[in-house]
Symmetry: C2
């Protein structure tokens, strides 16, 4: 089921700048019993990114109505919301009065093995690096060729996720998730001011860490920090939290802190227990 | 007029990865008396970029037929060809058997003032920087948010084009064109192995310089090189060649070499005299 600007429709005008330039943003929600989880966190990110790109973000109440109408009967599903700048002429210059386009689509819940969440995954480190640009960093915009190519690197491998670095050797995230480290009973996650996507689950963990009496620091991290961590996990809205069992030859014990974070986010209804 | 996969149609499936991720490439042709100019240069770039992205480039003969059918009656027009990876499911991973999408659209010739080409333009230097990523550099892919934001920076100004640097302070190109410098009767254009688009007119100039008995060097350039050049010009398939009269307080004389390059490219039918 797909809604474009509130109408059942799965065809977009070729003039839309999402097609021409990737000129837009998106959000991927987990839907549970008809409810799009972490709504406020998603909308907050969408609104702040809209301001950065100069796109007029549609009214959240309208988005909520449309999202509800499409997901109300879904027990468990993935909902994708795309906001593009709208239609424009040829050329990069902004159209003088663009009406943003809303594309809302409902998708099947992915069949990730249950043990990814429960027992953890074996990960690798991508060879390809991500670019740095503070003007684009943090946003979930529609320019995602880097993620496409990173994911392509994993094609045919047994790694469901991988650590991704930027061209300056900083650890940034996974191909499709954020990354957290646990060291000395404290949480660490990479600074994303130059590269990467500020994920909604990452933001939820940062905000909720205190309630677990955990310190959570955001700072530049290198691959050695990952390899020397006590625990490592990836997180996103659909996968939830995937503990890392192993990267290359290094085995991580899946200790208590990752479990506590997982449980808290499930209890708070930010992610879905697989 | 718009053709999608050979059929008159201006609506694209929302499942197309051009919309979802900007997962594709494009070419912008000048059309003169029904002919898409610099065909071989455009197709060569499209094919080599397709290989880099792992997209199966459609048969050039098919593209030629479709392009001709849409542009045959145009005296002067702009033709845009988009090749996306095709439709896919949700998620970055490549679809197992994607059929690339061909989108061909014909547009009005832009009304750039004639004196941009004949007398030159006043340019500026963009504040925003471009990211560096050798994996994406050079290609005219659909991830163009940087260009959208660069162009936004010029909104309301009198500058039709601007010099753009990367985050490492290298001069890369214009917002929508490539840049050449002339110094001591020699041509220079920035190395684009880390950032920027390898434009078709740029490639034409590199290939044809020898026929003008001009040396043309591709190398890293900084803003001082631009400001100390004897002549500076921007080039792209539609604008042609725009000499630069002035950047900030520096005035460039529009000397003979820019004129000779302009004339050669018009004679070789790579650009259109305005």
């Amino acid at each position: 089921v797909i809604l474009i600007n509130g109408e059942l429709n799965d065809k977009l005008s070729v003039r839309d700048r999402a097609i021409q330039y990737g000129d837009g943003l998106f959000e991927t929600f987990a839907v549970k019993n008809g409810e799009a989880l972490a709504w406020d966190l998603h909308i907050t990110r969408l609104q702040s990114s809209s301001i950065r790109l100069g796109i007029e973000c549609p009214d959240p109440a309208l988005l909520k109505r449309e999202v509800s109408s499409i997901s109300q009967h879904a027990r468990r599903a993935v909902l994708k919301l795309i906001i593009s700048r709208g239609e424009g002429g040829r050329g990069y210059q902004l159209p003088t009065s663009a009406l943003p386009t809303r594309i809302i689509s409902l998708h099947e819940w992915p069949d990730y093995p249950v043990n990814y969440m429960n027992e953890g995954i074996v990960a690798t480190v991508c060879k390809m690096r991500m670019a740095c640009n503070p003007v684009l960093a943090g946003m979930k915009h529609l320019n995602r060729l880097e993620q496409v190519l990173l994911k392509k690197e994993l094609l045919g491998s047994d790694f469901p996720e991988a650590v991704v670095l930027d061209i300056n050797d900083n650890v940034i995230e996974g191909c499709m998730s954020n990354i957290f480290l646990v060291k000395n009973k404290q949480l660490f996650t990479p600074d994303l001011s130059n590269s990467g996507v500020e994920g909604v689950v990452r933001e939820g963990i940062v905000q909720l860490a205190e309630s677990l009496k955990l310190k959570c620091e955001i700072l530049p991290l290198q691959i050695n920090d990952v390899m020397n961590a006590d625990e490592v996990f990836f997180c996103n809205s659909v996968a939830g939290i995937w503990p890392v069992k192993k990267i290359n030859d290094k085995i991580f014990t899946m200790e208590s802190i990752t479990r506590r974070v997982q449980k808290l986010l499930i209890d708070k209804n930010l992610i879905i227990a697989q």
